[in-house]
Amino acid sequence: MGRFLLTVIRRDLLLAARRRGDWLTAQAFFVMVVSLFPLGIGADPQLLRSIGPGVVWVAALLASLLSLARLFADDHRDGSLEQMLLSPEPTVLIALGKALAHWLIYGLPLLAIAPLLGLQFALPAEAIGVLMASLAIGTPILSLLGSVGAALVLGLRGGGVLLTLIILPLYVPALIFGAGAVDATLAGTGAQAHLSLLGAFLLMCLVVSPWVAAAALRVSVE
């Protein structure tokens, strides 16, 4: 079971490595969106510090949406999704593996870029640490929930817009607790409570979303 999951993940990593352009686009989009705010709002450190966490988080949500539209769509188009569903292995593991691969490819790099972006918003070192922690717990949520949306809109025309409408509301708790953790650090009340709630949300997504995504895939392919 574990080996099958690894096979699914390895496959998507290999495909992403062969198609680096897509990967770079998503990362560049994240950096661009975040960087536009200091340019547009001006260099008032107090103001930047208070909007910083929210801006980074919103940009992370949008960047994940950009890549999620293709999570299953490419495999659907060339027929390899059909073949995966005909595998004797459980579909749930395929859905979980693809969501985890999506996080490794698109979510994890955001963590590496986030400290630099935090500096743009004059965040103190402690707040940047919490920002990274919140993204580390929060970005897997985006990939897991996103896989449900991507499976639901599979094969629909205009699926990209629909995906946005379905998924963004579901992202709201992650946004609130994620950005809230950094805000709480800045306010001096400690991020513990927010990060715990975010962690609980992640566990829930980890348990529930692969099943929902697998069911949605079966319906979409039919």
């Binding site: 099958f4 495909l15 062969r18 390899s80 073949q83 292995e89 392919v221």
Partner: protein, 222 residues
């Protein structure tokens, strides 16, 4: 375990609110080939997808070894291989990687020598290391058929396997089918081309004739 047998009773399928076919019955056992016939849009592909378990029928049942396929899904999918309209191969990967990846996703191991041998048999010896993107339509079809061989399945479900193949390719597929069926395999397939199989009993099934108008029936019978 009961002997391999694919039996279908009272199968019906609709597309939208149009009934494609109903009351489809057949029963094939080891060493038998079923040729599904019918004009374009009569539901041949839909029937094959019902047989694979990718789609669920409006009515009726598909049984493998006497059990409904949805109840023995894992075993059924381990013993069945499907080649549909889409080849299910990734453009970014080489034929060799495609075969090994497909095997991994089906929970099987495939060593490189064996994959190479199969591809050579299908006349792809000179493009083992090229990305599938640069292969021709017929060559991709051959990669998909190589996947069929490496799957080592008992039941083959083939949707127009001959499209895009040249004369040699068609002859090759015919010899593969012959070999498979004579070795005790089962096959269900559709094709619009004449099939030349020596010493292989072919059952024929016409689908979707129920709603034909008399004039069309006449031309179909010619």
């Amino acid at each position: 375990m009961s002997p391999p047998r694919l039996s279908v009773t009272g199968l019906a399928c609709s597309r939208g609110d149009r009934l494609l076919f109903s009351g489809v019955n057949f029963d094939i056992g080891a060493g038998e080939l079923l040729l599904v016939q019918g004009g374009n849009g009569r539901g041949k592909t839909s029937l094959l997808r019902l047989l694979t378990g990718l789609a669920t029928p409006l009515a009726g049942q598909v049984r493998w070894r006497g059990e409904p396929i949805e109840r023995v899904r894992e075993r059924y999918h381990a013993e069945m291989a499907y080649v549909g309209h889409l080849n299910g191969i990734k453009d970014e990967l080489t034929p060799l990687e495609n075969l090994r990846m497909a095997a991994g996703l089906a929970g099987r191991r495939l060593d490189e020598a064996q994959a190479e041998q199969t591809l050579e048999r299908l006349g792809l010896a000179h493009c083992l290391d090229l990305p599938a993107r640069v292969l021709s339509f017929g060559q991709r079809r051959r990669v998909a058929l190589a996947g069929l061989l490496t799957a080592g399945a008992l039941l083959w479900i083939l949707d127009e396997p001959l499209t895009g193949l040249d004369v040699h390719g068609v002859a090759l597929v015919e010899s593969l089918l012959q070999e498979h069926v004579r070795a005790g395999g089962l096959a269900v397939m559709t094709t619009h081309q004449p099939l030349q199989l020596a010493n292989v009993p072919i059952q024929r099934l016409r689908v979707g004739d129920a709603d034909l108008t008399p004039a069309e029936t006449m031309s179909a019978g010619q």
